[in-house]
């Protein structure tokens, strides 16, 4: 991730240069130390909320809630992945991965996603991504989110009077994002096919 390195360096160096030009270089030391301390105290505030949330989600996972949501979305995934046979193992892995994403189960979603990629690669057998893979990754990065737990925790620890005020806006935003991803995927798929011909 070259770009992250560059941005990180730019933030630091431009900050230090600006402070030097303004003649208050001493502010840098205080800002750096205070921020480092604040980072740890925020993470500590988050422990309780993250533990509560992931504890609940583990109950959900063990009760088969991921599977239940998966069944609900089966018709949609069959429509979205026309190139994958209905009862191919790739389909099962895709549905499970997306269901875990919807519930905010990031830890459970990643292994399922990697499994889905492996199964799709068996159908693809090339070093170029298949259409199904592109669709899958687009859905993965813009998946509808029901409860953004981490950011609710950050808001609560910052003393918000309504930490969950942003749940509604998040569901709306991710819903629109997912719909656009599905539509743009169909368009790009067609243009790419034409270009190849």
């Amino acid at each position: 991730m070259l770009l992250v390195n560059l941005i990180w360096f730019l933030l630091l160096s431009l900050g230090i240069i600006t402070a030097a030009i303004n003649g208050n270089i001493e502010i840098i030391t205080a800002a750096a130390f205070d921020s480092a301390k604040m980072a740890v105290s925020i993470a500590f505030d988050l422990i309780g909320i993250m533990a509560l949330w992931l504890g609940l989600l583990k109950i959900a996972e063990d009760s088969g809630l991921v599977k239940a949501i998966a069944n609900l979305f089966k018709p949609l995934t069959v429509f979205l992945f026309p190139s994958i046979p209905k009862d191919h193992p790739a389909m099962g892995a895709i549905i499970m991965n997306l269901s875990a994403n919807i519930l905010g189960l990031g830890n459970a979603a990643t292994p399922l996603g990697l499994k889905a990629m492996q199964e799709m690669q068996e159908l693809n057998n090339s070093d170029e991504a298949s259409e199904a893979m592109c669709t899958f990754l687009a859905l993965n990065t813009s998946c509808i989110t029901l409860i953004p737990a981490t950011i609710i925790g950050v808001r609560a620890s910052a003393g918000s009077s309504e930490p969950t005020a942003i749940v509604g806006t998040t569901i709306f935003t991710t819903g629109v994002g997912m719909m656009v991803a599905i539509i743009v995927d169909k368009i790009l798929r067609k243009t790419y096919r034409k270009k190849k011909r």
């Binding site: 303004n22 925020i42 993470a43 609940l56 009760s63 893979m133 813009s142 005020a165």
Partner: protein, 177 residues
């Protein structure tokens, strides 16, 4: 808008009731499952500390020095035209690149401007709404040896931009003055 507000209010209490209820009906050992999951939560919170420290220090230095103010002043004419607050530019850039980094920036914005401020709410919505496109593409394609991404990257970035615009739109509508 009433509906979104209602959802925001009821989401957590309902989840706290419904998940254990379903678990009980399905014969899950509630307490044991909860504790196993909670341990993961503990580990997750500790694991983000290095990301938070690195990003909060960088952005803290950038803000305290006055460089952030200069940047905001420089870009605000363009951002004002499209009604996006310039303060969120660093978050918008970091979001597709690094999940931990973006969380650090969003946290700094929430603390600097207040969680219930417009910028605090916008940053929260943005952070909760997209995933780290570059990271997901690298890990998922890398794991199966796919080197040509086809249109996956442009597709992911189009989705990210859509999400950004939607977040600004809906936050304005719900919480704008």
């Amino acid at each position: 808008m009433k509906t979104l507000d209602l959802i925001s209010r009821w989401a957590i209490p309902m989840v706290l009731l419904i998940i254990p209820l379903i678990g009980l009906m399905r014969g899950v050992k509630l307490y044991e499952s909860f504790v196993t999951g909670a341990e993961q939560g503990f580990i997750t919170a500790i694991k983000i500390i290095p990301f938070m420290v690195s990003m909060l220090v960088a952005i803290g230095v950038f803000r305290a020095s006055g460089a952030m103010e200069l940047l905001i002043k420089a870009i605000s004419p363009i951002f004002d035209m499209v009604k996006i607050p310039p303060e969120i530019l660093p978050l918008a850039i970091m979001r597709p690149l690094s999940g931990g980094g973006a969380l650090g920036i969003a946290t700094e914005l929430i603390h600097s401007y207040g969680p219930d401020s417009f910028i605090g709410r916008l940053a929260s919505t943005m952070q909760g709404s997209t995933d780290t496109t570059f990271y997901v593409l690298t890990v998922y394609f890398g794991s199966v040896g796919v080197k040509k991404y086809r249109y996956a990257l442009s597709l992911g970035l189009i989705a990210d931009i859509t999400t950004l615009i939607t977040a600004v739109f809906i936050t304005n509508l719900m919480f704008g003055s």
